[in-house]
Amino acid sequence: SQTIHQWPATLVQPVGSPLSLECTVEGTSNPNLYWYRQAAGRGLQLLFYSVGIGQISSEVPQNLSASRPQDRQFILSSKKLLLSDSGFYLCAWSRTYEQYFGPGTRLTVT
């Protein structure tokens, strides 16, 4: 069966510091991968998605970037965090139409 991992689970970072969140999927090959952000009490905002290694589509202009160095690895990065980057970051995968979410990373920028 397929499993999706995200780490870290929680993170507190100061404004202006860098960020790296990692997501890995097991049990499938060539999945579509997604990064979403959820602000407190809000819905799910798609940030990036990838249909293959090195292929990244950005949905929202911001100070975040994504990379997919391996088939089942998806990384979300920032060079300098803003207060507005705080939120719950969710990685998801799909092979057909259903998307399955990882456990998420709760980021607080102070």
Binding site: R42, G43, L44, Y49, Y97, E98, Y100, F101, G102, G104
Partner: protein, 109 residues
């Protein structure tokens, strides 16, 4: 275009029924339903595809009206475990989903 969910919130007693609606202004190929409990990731409930059948999952079922670009999630004989925020995600057949703002469901004993 973000789909519109209604109601924004609903409170039920155990055993009561609820309907959550999801409406889009765009032609849809798929509608996806998720439930999210506080502090946790959304959990996939079901998907409805254009031309497909109405789906069911235990006491939770859903319908998809392709012509009206609407979907409804039906929760019958609600249980305490049904509490959470329900999101619909809509797809046009491509790789992306657009999610609604969510419907908060609270089931009381």
């Amino acid at each position: 275009q973000q789909p519109v969910q209604s109601p924004q919130a609903v409170i039920l007693r155990e055993g009561e029924d609820a309907v959550i609606n999801c409406s889009s202004s765009k032609a849809l190929y798929s509608v996806h339903w998720y439930r999210q409990k506080h502090g946790e990731a959304p959990v996939f409930l079901m998907i409805l595809l254009k031309g497909g059948e109405q789906k069911g999952h235990e006491k939770i079922s859903a319908s998809f009206n392709e012509k009206k670009q609407q979907s409804s999630l039906y929760l019958t004989a609600s249980q305490l475990s049904y509490s959470g925020t329900y999101f619909c995600g809509t797809g046009d057949g491509g790789n992306k989903l657009v999610f609604g703002a969510g419907t908060i469901l609270r089931v009381k004993s």
